[in-house]
Each structure stands twice: as structure tokens, then as C-alpha cells.
């Protein structure tokens, strides 16, 4: 058990070390998320001005799009350094490898969201932090569900042709329930007055999907990654 946890941490630490030294994925993902928010803010226009109720949707779209990009970049790095094969040969459990990569992605996306969420709250006058605990829970559960599926697919697509377009094509239909729950839960919190039972219901929905996605991903990671 301890060896497993240590293996997970070794993989995560490697990714974090590289990221803290270059900050490449972090900066590019943050600015991409910002660009997303901008484009969508002006995409949804009513009477010449941005609509007010779109904050929840725009936030989660930005998370989904920038998350997909971050996943792609994170595994592109593995491909270029040909370190994925080294990781697969290493004497660690495959689930530990998967969880290590997942944790690394989660920390990266958390860093992105820490910057983007307050920004969205500011730009759309959205009271996202009135019920901060539930909001954070929604963000964590939603990002976890998205990243769980994303890590599996990004890893398995590393050696595939047309991987750049395949990742979104595969990821978005699968993570639609997560996005829906995230948006609806956030929107429930942004209502005046906030609909807390509804937000909690969507949170349980998210947690259910997190469990399903994590289970299937853990189960299939090894056979999918083995030649």
C-alpha cells in the first residue's frame, strides 16, 4: 500500500518538478482559458452587451477546453522525451502510473482554476464565492471527473495518429454529464436566492460520475497501455 502511494507520488513529483521549472503548460493554459472566456463572453451577446447569466456556462466551457489542451500538452511532453515507454517499463503498478499522472493534471488544473474562477466572478459580477464550500466542491468533483477520463484517453492516444483531434472527439461526449452537472450546479448557486439543495443534488451527481469514471479508467488503463 505504501509502495503504491510512493509510486504515485514519484510520478506526480516528476511532472510537478518539470512544470515548476518551465511553467510552460501552466502559463499557456491560463492564457488559453482567458481567451476562451473572452471569446464566449462576446459570443453570447444580448442587445449588444454580454448576457448576465452565462457565467456558469462560460466557466465550465473554459475549464473543459483548457483542460483538454493541458492534457494534450502534458502527454505530448512524454511523447517527445520518449519517457512514456520508460514509465511503462518501470516496475510500478499501472494504476499507480495512472493515478500519478492524474494527480499531476489535477494540481495543474487547480492552479489554472484558482486564477480563472475569480476572474470570471469579477468579469460577470457572478457571486461565485457566496457559497464557497459548495462551489469549491463542485469545481473539485467536476475537474476530477473530467481529468479522470482525460488522463486515460490522453495517455492512450499518445502513439495514435490524429491524436490532436481525437482527444476532444473522444473526451467531450464522454464528459458531457460532468459539464452539465458542473454548469447546473454552479447556476443553482448563482441564482438569487441560491438554490442550495439543487446544487447539492448536482454535486452528488458529479461524485457518482467521478466514481464510475475512475473505476472504469483504473480498470482499463493497464490493458489499453500494454502492447
Amino acid at each position: 500500500m505504501k509502495a503504491f502511494a510512493r509510486a504515485v507520488w514519484v510520478v506526480t513529483r516528476k511532472d510537478l518538478l518539470i512544470e515548476t521549472r518551465t511553467r510552460e503548460i501552466l502559463f499557456t493554459t491560463v492564457f488559453f482559458a482567458l481567451a476562451c472566456v473572452l471569446v464566449f463572453a462576446f459570443g453570447f451577446v444580448k442587445e449588444g452587451r454580454p448576457m448576465e447569466d452565462v457565467a456558469a456556462g462560460i466557466l465550465w466551457i473554459a475549464i473543459a477546453f483548457s483542460g483538454t489542451l493541458a492534457l494534450g500538452r502534458a502527454f505530448e511532453r512524454e511523447r517527445q522525451g520518449e519517457t512514456l515507454r520508460a514509465l511503462l517499463i518501470a516496475p510500478i503498478d499501472r494504476p499507480a502510473l495512472y493515478l500519478g499522472k492524474l494527480l499531476g493534471i489535477l494540481i495543474l488544473l487547480a492552479a489554472v482554476e484558482i486564477l480563472i474562477v475569480p476572474l470570471v466572478a469579477l468579469m460577470f459580477q457572478a457571486a461565485l464565492f457566496d457559497h464557497a464550500l459548495i462551489m469549491v466542491a463542485l469545481l473539485v468533483a467536476g475537474t476530477l471527473g473530467f481529468a479522470a477520463v482525460g488522463t486515460l484517453f490522453a495517455a492512450m492516444l499518445v502513439r495514435t495518429r490524429s491524436r490532436d483531434v481525437m482527444l476532444p472527439v473522444l473526451l467531450y461526449p464522454l464528459t458531457v454529464p460532468v459539464i452539465i452537472a458542473g454548469v447546473r450546479g454552479t447556476a443553482a448557486l448563482l441564482q438569487q436566492p441560491a438554490d442550495l439543495p439543487m446544487a447539492r443534488a448536482w454535486l452528488s451527481f458529479l461524485l457518482f460520475f467521478d466514481i464510475v469514471f475512475l473505476t472504469i479508467s483504473l480498470w482499463t488503463f493497464e490493458p489499453v497501455m500494454t502492447e
Partner: protein, 219 residues
């Protein structure tokens, strides 16, 4: 095995589909929707076939992932294509019915959205197999597993959430005159689905044998 059973079963299936409209026309009209409700017989049967096809593909994929048997992979591909075909039928006949019954072509309720999502997942499966290059059979198998996991969600979505779409309790509580035609159509659809699976797996098997032959020629 394929050629012996296929033609008689195909004849039966064609006959059933030829006879079905007459059965359906003689079935009692539904109280509020009149003629347009008759789409139900094929729409709901296709829906049942859809769930079955998704399960076939998912289970085939699981077996393939853990045993690497090529036969399982062939079944998975056939199942996925069938899922896309039946999904297309469900997603086209539904709105044709809805236009009259609900006044709108489409609604973003739980049942319709989740069905569309599941259909797109299996489309993604086929895209991955076609354009993914070598090794995409294993990857697609993982996609298919996620697609299969959606089936219970799609099925129960209509009972858990308040939607425009009729709930699952409609089937057990069908009026007597509707039951006969409905289950007849279900059997017809299951028969055609089985036939499609049989031919499609055979096609896949022959394609692989052909590839091996080409390799032998090159030697």
C-alpha cells in the same frame, strides 16, 4: 454457419417487417396523438435494440481488452456500428414524432440528451478505429466500455428526471391491442439486429483473413 442460417432468418425478418405495418395500423389509436403515435412501435423497438447493441459492443470490448481474442474485437466493432445505425433511427424517428406530439423537434431533456451523447460516443469509437492507425483497436475498446456504461443512465434518465419523454412504465402498461404489435416489432428488430451482427462480424473476419493473405503474397 453464417450462410446456412442467414438466408432463412433474413427471409423471416423481411416478412416480419413487411407484415408489421398492417399489424400496427390495426392497433388501437392512442388517445391524444392519433396516427403519429404509431411511430412508437418502431421507435421504442429500435431503442431496445440500441441498448442491446451497446451492451454487445461493450462486453465484446471488455473481453477483447482482457483476453486479446480477435473474435471479441470483431463483435465489438459490429456492435458499435449497429449502435450507431439504431441510434440514428431512434434520433430521427423520435423528433419526427415529437414535432407532432410536443410541438418541437428537439428538447434538451435528460433522455434525449443522454441518448445523443451515447450515440456520439459510439461515433467516436468508429472514428478512432478508422483514423487512429495501429493500436486503435485497444483504445477504441476502452471508449466502447464507457459507452456501455452510459446505457443504464440513458434508460433510467426518463424515470429519475421529469422529462417530456414517456417513462419506462409505458411499456408494461400498454393497452392490450398495442401489446401484440409492439412485441412483434421488438422481435423483428432483434432479429434484424442479430442478422446485422452476424454479417458484420463475418465481414470483419474475412477482411482480416484477406490482410493475412496479402501478407502471404508479399512473402
Amino acid at each position: 454457419m453464417l450462410n446456412r442460417l442467414f438466408v432463412p432468418l433474413a427471409v423471416v425478418a423481411a416478412a416480419m417487417f413487411a407484415y408489421a405495418p398492417f399489424m400496427i395500423l390495426n392497433a388501437p389509436y392512442e388517445a391524444t396523438m392519433g396516427l403519429v403515435q404509431k411511430i412508437f412501435y418502431f421507435h421504442a423497438s429500435a431503442g431496445m435494440g440500441l441498448f442491446l447493441a451497446a451492451f454487445v459492443s461493450g462486453i465484446g470490448s471488455a473481453v477483447f481488452l482482457f483476453t486479446r481474442k480477435p473474435a471479441a474485437d470483431r463483435v465489438a466493432v459490429a456492435g458499435a456500428e449497429l449502435t450507431v445505425m439504431l441510434g440514428l433511427i431512434v434520433l430521427v424517428t423520435g423528433p419526427l414524432w415529437a414535432r407532432k406530439a410536443w410541438g418541437v423537434w428537439w428538447q434538451w431533456d435528460a433522455r434525449l440528451t443522454s441518448t445523443l451523447v451515447m450515440w456520439m460516443i459510439f461515433n467516436a469509437y468508429l472514428l478512432l478505429r478508422r483514423y487512429g492507425g495501429p493500436g486503435s483497436d485497444r483504445l477504441a475498446a476502452a471508449v466502447s466500455l464507457f459507452g456501455m456504461a452510459n446505457v443504464p443512465f440513458v434508460y433510467w434518465s426518463v424515470n429519475v428526471w421529469r422529462t417530456l419523454h414517456p417513462t419506462t412504465s409505458v411499456i408494461p402498461s400498454l393497452k392490450p391491442g398495442m401489446r401484440g404489435p409492439f412485441w412483434f416489432c421488438v422481435v423483428a428488430f432483434l432479429l434484424v439486429s442479430t442478422l446485422i451482427l452476424m454479417v458484420r462480424t463475418e465481414l470483419e473476419k474475412r477482411r482480416q483473413e484477406l490482410d493475412e493473405l496479402y501478407l502471404a503474397v508479399e512473402d
